[in-house]
């Protein structure tokens, strides 16, 4: 061996040569050609190909999510409007427990059919 010091940071060229000879390979060109023939048989996907393959599924999922969100919003809207008290009706208004002025009751009574004298 060229370097007798085992701690030597440099390469031991004699040992390297022996190891290379020991693990000697033959016909690297044929090996390379074999790999290339394998590679030729497969097409490697680009990231766009992967994206394109998942696109229909993604669009369908987005549509379902949008539909579900729309339905949810619609139901929430309906629920909020249904729970609001009919403030034009003094009976409903009174049931809410809020203070009522005499003008409001009078106005509501006058708008009731048959109270304004238009029936005649």
């Amino acid at each position: 061996m060229t370097a007798s010091n085992d701690f030597d940071a440099g390469r031991d060229h004699d040992l390297g040569t022996r190891l290379r000879a020991h693990f000697e390979t033959t016909d690297d060109a044929a090996f390379t050609a074999r790999i290339l023939s394998r590679i030729g048989g497969e097409t490697r996907e680009s990231s766009w190909d992967v994206l394109a393959r998942w696109a229909p599924l993604g669009v369908a999922a987005a549509a379902i999510l949008a539909l579900a969100a729309g339905l949810g919003l619609g139901m929430a809207w309906n629920a909020s409007t249904a729970s609001a008290p009919d403030t034009a009706d003094p009976v409903v208004w009174l049931s809410t427990g809020q203070p009522v002025t005499s003008e409001f009751v009078l106005t509501a009574a006058l708008t009731e059919p048959g109270m304004s004298g238009e029936q005649r």
């Binding site: 061996m1 007798s4 085992d6 701690f7 940071a9 390469r11 031991d12 060229h13 004699d14 040992l15 390297g16 040569t17 022996r18 190891l19 290379r20 000879a21 020991h22 693990f23 000697e24 390979t25 690297d28 060109a29 090996f31 390379t32 050609a33 074999r34 790999i35 290339l36 023939s37 394998r38 590679i39 030729g40 497969e42 490697r44 680009s46 990231s47």
Partner: protein
């Protein structure tokens, strides 16, 4: 099928020059080996082209590293056929995963890591023990040493000495002394600290030097 003029000449022109590259904290500065294929294209250009799907460029990369990959795989598996299978699997895996390779990093430690993983994986799966056991032909020749040539004795000694090393020691010493990889590159390949690589190389060298001492100066 492929237009690969470089295949006509297997002889590769490999030039090395030191470039500073960022390496993991605690590791020595890595040197980036700039290799050129027989066609003269630098490794970085080949990697970029191959990442874009250029099969000829990848073919040049395979031609550049086929010998190294096969020898490193042999250092793990011993058996030539298994080693070639592992090296082939590694190149195919590298081709499939090239898109995920960060081309700011050196290419060959990345490739060799795939080779080492493929070889060790095959070793585990097949539970191959060729490296750890002497081939029958070797054992039978032990009975009649007079019939052995010095070269075959040397080869048997080396086989036995390598069998006594750990898998990582074999890989480290092969990559360092036989293939010219730096400690940092081997550390990146084996995913261990540089100090561990130094230790692996040290112990492997010591064992091999003791085994080969009687053959001092006799190159195979």
């Amino acid at each position: 099928m492929f237009n690969v003029p470089w295949l006509r000449s297997v002889k590769m022109d490999v030039t090395t020059m030191a470039l500073s590259t960022p390496v993991q904290a605690g590791h020595e500065p890595a040197t980036r080996v700039v290799s050129r294929s027989a066609a003269g294209r630098p490794e970085s250009a080949l990697v970029l082209a191959a990442k874009g799907g250029d099969q000829d460029a990848f073919g040049e990369l395979v031609g550049l590293y086929a010998g190294q990959a096969r020898r490193v795989a042999r250092s793990v598996l011993g058996n030539g056929f298994d080693a070639d299978d592992a090296a082939q699997d590694a190149f195919l895996l590298a081709w499939r995963n090239l898109a995920s390779f960060d081309d700011r990093r050196p290419f060959r430690p990345w490739l060799m890591r795939i080779v080492v993983n493929a070889a060790t994986d095959l070793y585990r799966r097949r539970k191959v023990r060729q490296v750890g056991t002497l081939p029958e032909s070797v054992a039978s020749r032990e009975a009649g040493p007079e019939r052995q040539t010095d070269r075959s004795i040397l080869r048997d000694r080396l086989t036995t000495a390598l069998a006594g090393l750990s898998e990582r020691q074999r890989i480290a010493v092969t990559m360092f002394d036989a293939e010219g990889y730096s400690h940092a590159e081997i550390a990146e390949t084996l995913e261990v600290p540089v100090g561990t690589v130094r230790s692996l190389v040290f112990h492997a060298r010591r064992a091999l030097r003791i085994a080969l001492a009687p053959f001092e100066g006799d190159l195979p």
